[in-house]
Symmetry: C2
């Protein structure tokens, strides 16, 4: 079973305050780029893997989706998601992505934001998603970028000119990475870009777009703290078709 | 026109001594992985872009290719390549990849080793290759990995544990990178992984395999200097089909 940090009360309380939870999709700087990678949602059956507070499922329904199923490991998250809607075509369900079971040939779009790097058996998950999609169905997801995750001590350094610089080591050593983020020892799984892409391809997906998030000039102007994201990619955005 | 460092006598002399030039394909540690990404060469018409001394064209013919065309900017390289074979089905030609013209629908495999990062207009090149391939034809190529190329000062650091660590900055700032490698100010073009992959996809290619070269345990045992390549990827290997 995946580590469930979200049901640790202190974690949940702090996590609930970050901009992307308070402001929903628009609180995530990468959202405009993710949105540009999504198909037209009209009449699509959507599944959101690691749905958190359920923002995406509600947004999908508001934008024409026929139905939305949000799945999350955390009881706290699912309780909050359920409290946020009375839409009968949205369902929120507690489940572990490590052991996910989905009906076959039943969805047109699988979406996931910043959840898959918590999953150890990515191959199993991707094959499960592939079977759950109709032919031509879309998988659009974001994960922490392997450049961000690889190093033993991932933190900003300064180079000889004083420029913000990110360290990379043990890049090809895949597996556990533990960091402190609102809780001690949050467990994530590092995979190379190659492994992530080849796992999709081997499961039968066709890669449609790969983006390493960098803020726009306007985003940096509005929020100067984002400038450092130009130095190294924080998130990896991928779209693929079954 | 691309910078032609290979016809600077001092550069050419030093470059001719590196293992992959002295020993050919087997002198390159990534070659076994590249070879695993190639289609069966039997009866294929092959073009090798940035052919250098022509090793790959000769190997392709020895492994069943119907013909091989090797292209390189450097007169020195092409002279050496021509001197290395009397095979009438191998042709070596001087041309600049920035302005490459190829006959349409004429090749089954386009191959390139460590040349495309010298090319500024990657989109033009990829579209030219795509048109030159038959439907289902293969493009298999290697480039320097963007993690290797991005930083303003690309050199090994030590992290707080003394571990070899590679710096990344200005990752999303694409364009010129100048380094000293046998010659001063060798000009290369940094592109993100996303840009490289999306350029292929937008030109009509389907991505088949993406590999970030890391040496095997056996390679490290035989050549301990390769161990550092585990810390950060040096080369990016891609196969795609038209």
């Amino acid at each position: 079973m995946a580590q469930n940090i979200y049901d640790i009360p202190e974690f949940f309380s702090a996590y609930s305050q970050i901009p992307r939870q308070v402001h929903g999709l628009a609180g995530a700087p990468e959202w405009p780029r993710v949105q540009a990678m999504l198909p037209d949602l009209n009449n699509l059956r959507v599944v959101d893997l690691g749905c958190g507070f359920g923002w995406f499922s509600r947004w999908a329904r508001e934008n024409g989706a026929a139905s939305a199923l949000g799945i999350d490991l955390s009881e706290n998250m699912i309780a909050r998601a359920r409290a946020g809607t009375a839409d009968p075509m949205i369902e929120y369900r507690i489940a572990d992505l490590e052991a996910l079971v989905l009906p076959e040939n039943s969805f047109d779009l699988a979406y996931s934001a910043l959840a898959f790097h918590y999953v150890q058996d990515f191959g199993r998950l991707v094959r499960t998603i592939q079977r759950s999609l109709v032919a031509g169905g879309w998988l659009v997801f974001t994960i922490e970028h392997p450049i961000l995750m690889a190093a033993a001590h991932p933190r900003w350094w300064a180079d000889e000119d004083g420029r913000k610089t990110w360290p990379v080591n043990q890049y090809s050593v895949e597996g556990d990475r533990r960091t402190d983020w609102f809780a001690k020892g949050v467990l994530k799984y590092h995979r190379t870009m190659g492994t992530t892409l080849n796992t999709l391809i081997e499961a039968g997906f066709t890669i449609r777009h790969v983006e390493e998030f960098a803020p726009s000039a306007q985003q940096v102007q509005e929020n100067p703290a984002l400038a450092e994201e130009i130095e190294r990619p924080m998130f990896l955005l991928i779209s693929a078709q079954a």
